[in-house]
């Protein structure tokens, strides 16, 4: 047995490694730029100011990016093509990088594309440096919008139309003529991309190796020693954020598991005792309907009817209350979520209970005890019930990880800041450290849960043995 457990835990390591790769790649691929999200700036084109302030914001962007380690290549190596430079990861703004990738995809000539990108940046700075006067205010705003197009679009139609619009704006005010040379540079560089296109380079593979100095390596090395990093959103350590969320999810999950067992076990016994009677059928049907009810529908209805919609305003529907609220306030907040968490599991547990109870009731020792005159309830609770409890207890091990990670739906609807909502929000906000940590944590819990469940099965049922596998 010990050998089996040891082997299973050893097997965890490659699995966890793959999971860490999957989560890492997935969260890095989510579109959007975490650094911009943190700095709270819109696109660079929307900012107003002189080139010096523009450069300063660029500076702070680069610093922040470096601080978070996002300036490193993503992985140990990259499989790419001849058209894509191995230094593309150095382009700091993620939307710009994605646009450049699209340009490379269509034209395949990086030297020209790089020149074009640099000249677009020069033009942006030149526009920012224009001295404001009465004539060029509107034109400047218009130019900025078109800059945004140049940075984020790759289609010749859009680029040409925005270059033409710029020309019109520049004609509107004499002071705009100072940026003429930068503008012409952009136009000629763009023409160069179109004329000297080498799209075939996209089809020659090339592999670059970056060594250990990459984002994944930095993260996994720290993760293994327990340093989960800092949450991008609020700058707190991820560990702290995670434990708070786990606490809330655990509170609800454990309460709901206890409730489920308290309700479902007697129901299961009842329907096993009256097997195939009307009572049994009614119970089965009702539980089946409950089991099929989508929890997000029930939650919506409960909020509409009891949460101050058109009908009753009985229960709060948002969060779990403040930290310093008293017990009753918190309990009040818990009523609706707990109901939604619990009703679906009833069918599952009570069906297992019914099955194992029927199994025990058909055993010989039950007939024997009936024959020797043990009372009806004595047979039921003392003999049958005790013997059919074990499989239900082992169920717990597999229910537990589900409860920890499977709460995304309800936590989002009831705005409960637990694990599910934490992960969901972090993904939307590109808060990578939190995403990795939550997923890795729930993966570990799930795998341990399955292991415990398997061990429990073996302990309960001597027919199952893991040690002698052929």
């Amino acid at each position: 047995m010990l050998k089996y457990i040891f082997k299973r835990i050893l097997i965890f390591i490659p699995t966890l490694f793959v999971i860490s790769l999957v989560t890492f790649m997935l969260s890095v691929s989510v579109p959007g730029d975490p650094v911009e999200q943190i700095l709270g700036g819109g696109g660079s084109a929307g900012e107003i100011g002189q080139s010096s302030s523009k450069l300063a914001s660029e500076r702070s962007y680069i610093d922040k990016r470096k601080e978070l380690g996002l300036d490193l290549p993503i992985f140990y190596f990259s499989l790419s093509n001849q058209a894509t430079p191995d230094t593309l990861y150095k382009i700091h703004r993620k939307p710009h990088k994605e646009n450049l990738e699209r340009l490379i995809q269509s034209y395949g000539n990086w030297p020209q594309i790089e020149k074009y990108y640099l000249s677009v940046q020069q033009l942006e700075l030149a526009i920012a440096d224009l001295a404001p006067d009465s004539l060029n205010a509107d034109a400047k705003i218009g130019m900025r919008d078109e800059m945004f197009v140049l940075f984020n679009q790759d289609h010749p139609k859009q680029i040409n139309s925005s270059l033409n619009k710029m020309k019109v704006y520049m004609g509107k005010a004499p002071s705009m003529q100072t940026i003429r040379s930068e503008y012409d540079e952009v136009v000629s560089n763009y023409q160069a991309i179109l004329q000297e296109a080498t799209p075939n380079k996209n089809y020659i593979p090339s592999i670059h190796f970056y060594g250990a100095n990459n984002q994944y390596h930095q993260w996994i090395v720290k993760f293994v020693v327990g340093d989960f990093g800092i949450s991008y959103q609020d700058g707190r350590p991820v560990k702290e954020v995670l434990w708070k969320a786990v606490g809330r999810t655990l509170l609800i999950s454990i309460l709901s598991i206890i409730l489920t067992y308290l309700i479902a076990v007697p129901i299961g016994v009842l329907s096993a005792k009256n097997k195939n009677s009307t009572t049994d059928q009614i119970i089965t049907t009702v539980l089946f309907i409950l089991y099929s009810l989508p929890s997000f529908w029930v939650a919506t209805l409960l909020i509409t009817f009891f949460g101050g919609g058109d009908f009753f305003d009985w229960f709060p529907t948002y969060g779990l209350g403040n930290e310093d609220d008293g017990f009753w306030v918190k309990a009040h907040h818990l009523v609706l979520p707990l109901f939604c968490w619990t009703y679906g599991g009833l069918a599952f547990v009570s069906r297992q209970m019914r099955g194992s109870m029927i199994n025990s009731l058909s055993q010989d020792y039950i007939r024997t005890s009936k024959a020797k005159g043990v009372s009806e309830s004595g047979v039921l609770w003392k003999h049958a019930f005790k013997n059919s409890l074990l499989p239900i207890i082992t169920l717990f091990a597999s229910v537990f990880p589900l409860a920890i990670s499977g709460s995304i739906v309800l936590e989002i609807i009831f705005s409960i800041p637990g694990m599910g909502k934490l992960a969901f929000d972090a993904l939307g906000a590109r808060n990578y450290p939190v995403v990795y940590t939550v997923v890795m944590f729930s993966a570990v819990v799930t795998m341990l849960g399955y292991l415990v469940a398997d061990i429990c099965y073996a302990l309960v049922d001597p027919r199952i043995s893991y040690s002698s596998k052929k």
């Binding site: 699995t15 089946f288 919506t300």
Partner: protein, 425 residues
Amino acid sequence: MEPRKLKQDYWSYVMRQFKKNKRALIAAWMLFILLFVAVFADFIANEKPIAFKDETGWHFPIIKEYGVDLGLTKWPLKWSNINWSNQDFEQSIYPLVPYSPTTQDYNNAQFAGPFDDQDVSSTRWRHWLGTEALGRDVLSAMIHGTRIAFMVGLVSMFLATLIGILLGAVAGYYGDDRLKYSRAGIIMGLILLVPAYFYSFQSRSHLMSKAIGDSFLQFFLQIFISIFLFVGFILLAWILSRPLTKIKWLGQKVSMPIDILVQRLIEVLVSIPRLFLIIAIVAIAKPSIILVMAVIGLTSWTEIARFIRAELLKVRNLEYVEAAQALGYSNLRIMMKHAIPNSISPVLIAVAFGIASAVLVEGFLSFIGIGIPPEVLTWGKLLSLSRSAPWWFAIAPGFAIFLMVTLFNLLGEGLTDAMDPRQKK
């Protein structure tokens, strides 16, 4: 009269058992009705008439629309910008619900309720389930939503079944010891894996992401080309490795631990919270129903693979498989013609429950507004609109999801009972 002879093979027996189960039988019939609604949604709820007669004869605009969508024909100029609802045709047949899910009824916008007085010319035009904020008919959206729910459920589980059976069967039948391959082949395959991946997937990724937004057909065409290329590379590896097998060490066959690999893959998928995995993948690409179906399919095959693997582990040591081997049949043939068909029944159960859960996942995804394009109205999206709507708005779409989930669950139950030999009545 002689008693009718009952067919004694396995599937007739299962059918008979299934028919005895009233609840499951009713569920199956109701699913047929829903499937009918889904297939003919355009003819049940549409602003265009099914058929009408004017001076040039009979016309069938709904059927014509299919042609237009496929690019086969074009709308005549006079129909291209027409308000179908107030035409005076000589004769016309209108659908049961005279609204498309996109038709906006400006007179009854802002949640005209099913019990309110609606500003309509006759009961024929009444919004039986009310309207949403822009005046779109809820009943029509519900009817067309049936199609999306079915599509998501069926397509994603089809994909999941395919992957599940394939991986489960290979893992179960070959185990860790039966799949043998020459060292040369393995090494060649590993070397060619890089260009195979590069040419069939990476360098085509932009084509695929474009096709996802275009249409079903385009996307499957692109996927098919990619898989075709990939298989081509594997064949190439096999051909290139042929001459190398002459060298003794390279030619030796080693067994591949295929079972361990599949098992680990399942473990990885099961350990990441499924809903979170789906949300993360869907968030990467542009919203598209195809993507949602593909992602649900790619994450829900593990149960099926486990079933098939367990069955084939048993089957592979049975006498009839050994007999087939002794007769010199290839492993592929034994697996395809004998082993898999004999262990397919638990898969049906898993598929029925899987469809129920796929419908639920899609409902939730559109409920939180992820993955489904904004112009498509699904049940889940209707339900999400109900947060800022009167109470009655939340009833119908939620009930529809519930009904679909329940029916498929009942079907799964019925199949479980019908296939369980202990349940023999």
